[in-house]
């Protein structure tokens, strides 16, 4: 049983290569943009949420986004992807700091700032999904982009 598991895990896709960076990047962008959307949603409806609830959503979203972008920054992008990698990293960093701003506002119960934050979160979310689409559109095989 164990042997079978080991052999099978050797076949699992995603060994480090060009494709792997692409897959990891897509996953991290997806995670971060999910966090952004959740906080956007929560702030939009902040009058329907309890303070601690909103705060927990904001804190957990910030944590999740931080984890996701740290994970990606630990993956060495292959040479031809270097330019794209920088774009992704900077977009993720922006999103992360925006989520931090959101969390700070939420913890201060600074509801005047929410409307502006929602707008910025929406813009960031759109930017992330554009990047996501572009990376997804990269050729699936290992030919150079």
């Amino acid at each position: 049983m164990v042997l079978v598991a080991i052999i099978l895990s050797a076949c699992a896709p995603g060994t480090p290569d060009e494709d792997s960076w692409r897959v990891d990047a897509l996953r991290s962008i997806g995670d971060v943009s999910s966090s952004v959307s959740s906080v956007q949603l929560a702030l939009q409806h902040h009058d329907r949420l309890f303070g601690p609830y909103l705060q927990t959503v904001a804190v957990q979203a910030e944590d999740a986004a931080g984890t996701a972008s740290t994970k990606l920054s630990a993956v060495q992008p292959p040479e031809p992807y270097q330019g794209r990698s920088d774009t992704v990293t900077s977009a993720l960093d922006d999103a992360e700091s925006l989520l931090t701003d959101a969390r700070i506002a939420v913890v201060r119960r600074d509801s005047a700032a929410y409307a502006d934050l929602v707008r910025r979160l929406k813009r960031t979310g759109d930017r992330l999904s554009r990047i996501e689409d572009r990376i997804r559109a990269l050729p699936d095989d290992r030919s150079r982009p």
Binding site: H45, T56, V57
Partner: protein, 409 residues
């Protein structure tokens, strides 16, 4: 009222099995990513667990033997021990996750980090397992867990495009851009979440705790036929709610806080408060269910006195197991591991362990020596054999799929 309380065991079992912390999040995750295209798995799981729980409940009512007694009698000590280790592993993992889940639910209420809360939650769960009467546990948490019906109300209030939801439910294929393998992995996870071994350990042992006899078979069937479909409805409602709210944003759902958002959006603070009550009750109920199940399965394998129908000192070893399980669970949580991910892994392993628990029950439910005239009928046997095959296929597919899709990432 008495009649109503009679079905509390089934309701609590089902809520613990279908909408515990892992399922709350898994259902929401599946809803956001796959819409209702996996709702058929929940339906299949509901029918499967009904068949399984009905057989084991009937055996408990007729012969007074709970599930793990029969596992050892029919599989022998060696295979029984292997099954015990596997099932204990799964149940303990789930217990860890549930205690963490209660703490996560409290975090949503008071805003304090769950890592500061879980030791108190663990102590509280243990205190309940030690002191509270069995009927208090099942009635209190079973009935409070019904608060999760708020997800059904929220879905109606959200006013989704029903034809689109219906279309998604009968599409039987992953929506773009999801891969078939990921879809299949979540199918296995959802099935494993619906049919966990500890549900049956708990349900049949609960029957013995309640001193079911032959005349209670009707009550037992009502429990099964009301409780599990209710659990299924709640799972699908949660999936549908998150689909409606999160899918347009193409956002995934990973935390309990996100699961509650659709209810807040639809019903405001009152709805959210009810959902939070439901979260706490369901996870606390599931924690009691899994905690007791660790004690039930070990005690039943070794023949020790178990159960809450005797004084705690009469079942001392059973209560010692409960205490140790709680300590181990707290130790695991103290590593800072994410409780939600723990259950996601445990449902897949439970799919793996299930056939070895199901088979002895199927054999004994047909054995006139135990059951007299209450053996399985022909129709039930056809259904039961169908699930024997399904369970075997799922068990064989579980680990390869988990590795291949890197846990559905």
């Amino acid at each position: 009222m008495k009649k109503l309380l009679n079905v509390a065991l089934g309701v609590l079992t089902a809520i613990g099995g279908f909408v515990d912390i892992g399922d709350l999040v898994t259902n929401a995750q599946v809803g956001a990513r796959f819409g209702l295209s996996l709702a058929w798995v929940t339906l299949l799981g509901v029918v499967g667990i009904i068949v399984f729980a009905e057989m084991s409940g009937r055996i408990a009512a007729v012969s007074g033997r709970a599930t793990f007694d029969l596992v050892r009698e029919r599989l022998g000590p060696a295979m029984g021990m292997a099954n015990l280790l596997g099932s204990m592993g799964v149940t303990l993992l789930t217990y860890v996750a549930e205690i963490g889940g209660v703490a996560l639910a409290f975090q949503l209420i008071c805003g304090v980090d769950y890592l500061l809360l879980f030791p108190f939650v663990g102590a509280l769960v243990w205190l309940v397992l030690w002191r509270a009467k069995f009927s208090v546990i099942e009635n209190l948490f079973g009935l409070l867990g019904l608060a999760l019906i708020v997800f059904v109300v929220a879905l109606l209030k959200l006013g989704p495009d029903w034809s689109q939801l219906g279309h998604s439910a009968v599409s039987f294929q992953p929506p773009k851009p999801e891969a078939w393998s990921t879809w299949a992995y979540y199918a296995v996870a959802l099935f494993g979440a619906a049919m966990t071994p500890y549900e049956v350990f708990f349900f049949s042992s609960g029957g013995v705790e309640e001193k079911w006899g032959v005349k209670d078979i009707g009550v037992m069937r009502t429990n099964v036929l009301l409780g599990f479909p209710l659990g299924g409805v709640l799972s699908v409602a949660i999936a549908a709610c998150t689909y409606v709210v999160f899918n347009p944003l193409s956002a995934s759902v990973d935390t309990l806080g996100q699961v509650g958002l659709p209810v807040a959006i639809a019903l405001g603070k009152i709805g959210l408060a009810i959902a939070l009550l439901g979260f706490v009750a369901a996870t606390f109920g599931a924690a009691c269910e899994t905690g007791l199940s660790t004690g039930y399965s070990i005690a039943q394998y070794f023949g020790w006195q178990w159960g809450k129908f005797v004084r705690t000192d009469v079942a001392a070893r059973f209560h010692l197991v409960l205490l140790l399980s709680t300590v181990i669970a707290l130790g695991v949580l103290a590593t800072g591991i994410d409780p939600v991910q723990v259950t996601e892994a445990s449902v897949v392993f439970s799919a793996l362990a299930l056939p070895l628990t199901y088979f002895p029950i199927l054999v004994v439910a047909n054995d006139r020596d135990y059951m007299g005239e209450h053996v399985n009928g022909r129709v039930l046997n056809v259904l039961a054999m169908f699930f024997m095959v399904v369970l075997t296929v799922v068990a064989l597919a579980a680990i390869p799929l988990m590795i291949w899709t890197r846990m559905g990432a």
